[in-house]
Amino acid sequence: MEFERDLHLDATELRLGLPGTATKQSSEKQKPNSNLAKSNKRSLPDMNEESAGSSRENSRTVSSNDKKSHDQETAPPIKAQVVGWPPIRSYRKNCLQAKKLEAEAAGLYVKVSMDGAPYLRKIDLKVYKGYPELLKALEEMFKFKAGKYSEREGYNGSKHVPTYEDKDGDWMLVGDVPWDMFISSCKRLRIMKESEARGLGCAV
């Protein structure tokens, strides 16, 4: 609103920063903590103007919190992250972020050997969402077919059987336990020839 700018309401506004600490724009830049993405660029024109206009007006909060102006952009595909939203404690946010990064970075690399192959391979178990994906990847990597899995009979109709060594050092058949349990206990994989796999419940 024009007349508001003339009244220099900014100078009288209640805020937390020291007097003379700049406008909303630079006070945003001062904040080291706002590591959130703010896309000022591509926004829907009508939404942006509306919110930009109103955000100039509402820079005060009664409980004397410095309001950060932002883009009220919620239209897909760009989801601008708003400062301080969702309202969860920084401690909690940092914990979750740390855990997420840890999980993503860690990876779960295990050795895979195939009877008869000249060298071993390594795969990241975290990349796969379940057994079908894992088996498909193994089949492609080592050029074999695993056959059909059933709890009673193991892998049916194949010359090769996927097995793994668990935390106790035992060799187990891939597919018996829930995926999450498998991920946390699998130390290495071995693709056995069916002749060696007798006793692991495979129908020959």
Binding site: E57, D66, Q72, S90
Partner: protein, 492 residues
């Protein structure tokens, strides 16, 4: 009453414990003011800049316990500049200089330095309790000072603080003569702790009732600790990753069988979900469960655990419990009074719960009166149903991850839904809203929310009329938090 000698009045006032009541008592007349002020031991200061330490000391010379709050609530969400303030040092320095017999200190959102902790540990001979919530500015060196010098320490409770971890042996600083610990919570510490020192400390603390461990305490140590502290009432498990067949697990089961007093469980900071059955032993007696820092616990294992918690009154959980999991809560936890559902992945913005979970809770839990709910979406119909089911809400805080999202079905603002909540819940004291909201919702709030004391609004309203409705209507309003609301503030 003026004919009673002072000692009698003082004795009577001893029975008046709440700060509000004591404030009222002190306003009756001058003699009462004098007696109440000189005998008050517990003081609460909601804003550390509202009064000077000198003034507090002058008025309450018998002060033994003080609670101080620093930064405003919005500081939690990075909405307050980092150099805002909230330093406790001037207070401690003033108390020390005036030889106050400080015994208990509770701080929330304040900045406390290692020097300050050292000063506390050396200045108050009877210091018993330190509770720090969402504070910062200190390191494990400061904790070492407290441990070393506070001979009668009963309580060291660190909740969600940002602590610089120097990996010092602060736990080893508790002298062998320190046997008074009742409560120890270091779950928020990021670094390693001296596990042998921890075990010894627990072994020589017969009064220990509350123990919350950090992620660096593995399962085998937990099992040993539980064997030494079977009388624990509140337990925070640190790390819970292990093999279900191992001997350690079996020992844990044995130890848990002896822990018949545990009523509150939290932690599982690193957890593999498949071996929670050991805890099914203590679930039936639990009144409080906090799994909000345990993203590793979800799915069927989580639901199995919840089904055993028939006496639960308070539940803090992550949204990966899903609507399905909340339905299990609704059918199993009939004594539930408070629930908080936190987002497990706030950055992606996909919460795993919706209005379905909220409705299930409102219908299944007759005693539910306090809720904090982070969700993907909400509808007016759901809120109206919730309002009908559960008129006993005193605290209702709803946070839709997309802050201006309208009704997920009708695309209307959520005015009618929140209107129904304030209309039906006559005892509502605290309200937080989100989603697409117009002035209309403030009209409803002004009209119906007579008991409202605190309200948090974000991205809501259209004009200053909304604010007028609110301020004219809610006579009991004490705390108002607004951000990003298109309301012209000229009226202020």
């Amino acid at each position: 009453m003026n004919y009673f000698p002072d000692e009698v009045l003082e004795h009577i006032f001893d029975f008046v414990t709440s700060q509000r009541d004591r404030n009222s008592v002190s306003q009756v007349c001058k003699p009462w003011y004098k007696i109440e002020s000189s005998s008050r031991q517990k003081v609460f200061v909601g804003n550390c800049y509202a009064i000077s330490p000198e003034r507090v000391i002058e008025r309450f010379p018998g002060l033994k316990s003080i609670t101080l709050k620093g930064k405003p609530h919005f500081a939690d969400f990075n909405l307050v500049p980092p150099d805002w303030g909230g330093f406790v040092y001037p207070w401690i320095e003033a108390f020390a200089r005036n030889n106050m017999g400080l015994e208990e200190l509770k701080l929330k959102r304040m900045i406390i330095s290692d020097e300050c902790l050292e000063l506390i540990s050396r200045s108050f001979a009877n210091f018993k309790s330190l509770v720090l919530v969402s504070c910062e500015g200190f390191s494990t060196d400061g904790l070492a000072a407290i441990a070393s010098n506070c001979s009668f320490l009963r309580e060291l409770d660190l909740q969600e603080n940002d602590v610089e971890d120097h990996r010092g042996h602060w736990l080893s600083c508790f002298p062998d003569t320190c046997t008074s610990l009742v409560s120890l919570n270091f779950a928020c510490l990021k670094g390693d702790v001296n596990l042998a020192a921890l075990e010894r400390l627990v072994a020589r603390s017969p009064n220990l009732r509350s123990l919350r461990l950090n992620h660096a305490v593995p399962l085998d140590i937990l099992q040993k600790i539980l064997m030494r502290a079977p009388h624990l009432v509140d337990l925070g498990v640190g790390s819970y990753v292990h093999d279900p067949d191992s001997e350690t697990y079996n020992k844990l089961v044995t130890a848990l069988q002896k822990c018949k007093s545990v009523r509150s469980l939290s932690g599982f900071l690193e957890a593999a979900p498949q071996c929670l059955s050991a805890f099914h032993l203590i679930c039936p007696n639990l009144t409080s469960l906090n799994l909000s820092y345990a993203p590793g616990i979800h799915g069927t294992e989580l639901r199995k655990l919840i089904r055993h918690c028939r006496k639960l009154q308070r539940l803090w959980i992550l949204d990966c419990i899903g609507d399905e999991g909340l339905e299990v809560v609704a059918s199993s936890c009939k004594d539930l009074q408070e629930i908080r559902v936190f987002p497990s992945d706030p950055f992606v913005g996909n919460a795993a719960v919706t209005e379905v979970g909220l409705v299930a809770l409102s219908s299944g839990c007759p005693k539910l009166h306090s809720i904090l709910y982070f969700c993907q979406q909400m509808t007016n119909a759901a809120l109206i149903t919730v309002a009908k089911n559960r008129p006993n809400f005193t605290r209702f805080r709803l946070c839709i991850l997309d802050p201006t999202k309208p009704d997920a079905v009708t695309n209307q603002p959520l005015d009618e839904g929140f209107g129904a909540i304030v209309h039906s819940c006559k005892g509502l004291r605290r309200l937080s809203m989100s989603g697409r909201l117009t002035d209309r919702v403030f009209l409803y709030i002004g009209m119906y929310a007579e008991q409202l004391e605190m309200i948090s609004i974000a991205f809501a309203g259209d004009t200053d009329e909304g604010m007028q409705y609110l301020l004219n209507g809610c006579k009991k309003l004490r705390k108002l938090e607004i951000r990003d609301c298109p309301l012209a503030m000229q009226r202020f």
